[in-house]
């Protein structure tokens, strides 16, 4: 039974090994060559690495992000549902009604968010 988990173990070994080897190789090879202040600065995807520790985001960002995640997940749920739908709908109409109620629940949440002015950026 535990043999089934061998790929997981391999995955862990590969992940740890890759991280360790990257660190080791950079220590071994990275010392050579010219150093400049810009080369020595920590690289972070092109963003300026030095600034306030807790930069302030507009609260609208979080609201939009939350709504986005909700609807993103809704779509994710719909894929497995759509795969089994054709087989299960015969004899079990609950498959249809459960997805309808799920989507309408999200719809109600969306209407509530609209009414509370979440998407209103004027003020």
């Amino acid at each position: 039974m535990l043999r089934d988990y061998l790929p997981v173990l391999l995955q862990i070994i590969v992940a740890v090994g890759f991280a360790a080897s990257a660190l080791i190789v950079s220590v071994l090879l990275g010392k050579a060559g010219r150093r400049t202040p810009i080369k020595d600065s920590p690289y972070e995807c092109g963003m300026v690495p030095i600034g306030e520790a807790q930069p302030r985001f507009s609260v609208r960002f979080y609201l939009i992000a939350m709504l986005f995640i909700l609807f993103d997940l809704e779509i994710v749920f719909m894929y497995p549902w759509a795969v089994v739908y054709r087989d299960m709908i015969h004899g079990h109409p609950v498959v249809f009604w459960s997805m309808l109620s799920f989507v309408s629940m999200l719809m109600i949440g969306y209407v509530y968010a609209l009414r509370k002015g979440v998407l209103d950026w004027r003020n």
């Binding site: 039974m1 535990l2 089934d4 609950v94 109600i108 509530y112």
Partner: protein, 474 residues
Amino acid sequence: MISAPYLEVAVLVLGTVILLIESFFSKFDRRYLGYAALVGLALIFLATFFIAPQSTMSSAPFWNFYSADATSLFFKRIALATTAGVIVMMFDFAALVSSGVQGATPQSGLGEFFALPLFTCAGLMWMASAIDFVLIFVSLELVTISFYVLVGFTRRNPASLEAAVKYLVLSAVATGFLVYGITWIFGATGETNLQKIATVLSGTGLEQNAALFGGVLVIIALGFKIAAVPFHIWVADVYQGAPTPVTAYLSVGSKAAGFIVLLRVLDPFLILPQMQTLLVAIAVLTLIYGNLAALPQTNVKRLLAYSSIAHAGYLLVAVVSFSGRAVAFYLVAYLLMTLLSFAVLILVSQPAGDQLESFAGLSQRSPFLAFAMLVAMASLAGVPFTAGFLGKFLVFDAAIATHHFGLVVVAIVTVGAGFYYYFKVVRAIYWDAPPASTDKIIVSPLTRVALIALIAGTFVLGVYPQPIFDALAR
């Protein structure tokens, strides 16, 4: 006849209707939303008595996840009654909801405050029926996520905010344990349905250690929900910081749902003897820690938090003895006395704060509230002729029947500690002199009715517990 799953749907619809009314109409008293929630919950509570028996149901795949037996119906009623009690308390707490928020009217935020417990209630009811790890997980998350919002509802209050952050972080960790445990159990048995897991576990040729490991992880996650030692660290701070009605809800609703899931999850793991040892250890730790840590408390909310840990200990004794009947009765008794004490606490603490001193001389300021608190404390301590006493009696009876004598000795000794700290509150009420400048406390008619019902329930179940047993054995 109504089918059981419609109960949860009805609660959800009630919650969403209240939310939509709150968002579409602005000029009306938000308290009407609370009254609507109360009426709706009462109707759904009545509807639970007209549920069609499960045997007539179709064999749709749905019923692999959901059971509508007498136990789950019973726990659904507990969830509904708790939610109704909490909403009654919310009326008394309403004035504090939007305190400190800039530009807030006394009405702002109240609609959501009344609607959120309904979603929690639906989650608790689903948990009562869940017989599959997937539904257990989803309903647990529904409960927990609505609690995140409720705990931090008075967000301008730093204590509430701290409580919310602590609850969020620790709860998320516990959820992680739960999911990880479920995957281990699924990996070992290949099933998520509890009955099928039981069949697989009783068979041979199984990697038992993997299933056991998963089971222990699930126990850790549920130990967090029911506030068992050593997963109790969050309890005192979160209970103290959260709005008081929410604290009451956390300590009753969250615990009741945690225990029914624990009973159901442990059922397939009965045949593994290590599980029993582990639970006995947790129960002993919880009993000793909860009762001893409550002794020096001077803040009543904190005292009740530690008392809630201690009661989790007594409930765990019943779980270890595999007595579902004792667990159910104890939870009903716990519901009555905890809601009673928190309802009094809200009224007393509004001008003066949660400290023990604000209870000083309550007997002169409001004899009715003093008597209600006396009943609550006596029942929590376990004085005869109260529901709390009979609950403890049933628990010890079940433990002796299954030969857990050491556990009973520890439990009885810690009950003695309980008498000290519960009667500290009673002493403050009846013997300490009231502060010089105190007014009489006004109790609204709705709260008065609720308090009288809770007091009556405490006494009636203390001498005549038969209705509870009948409901369980239906």
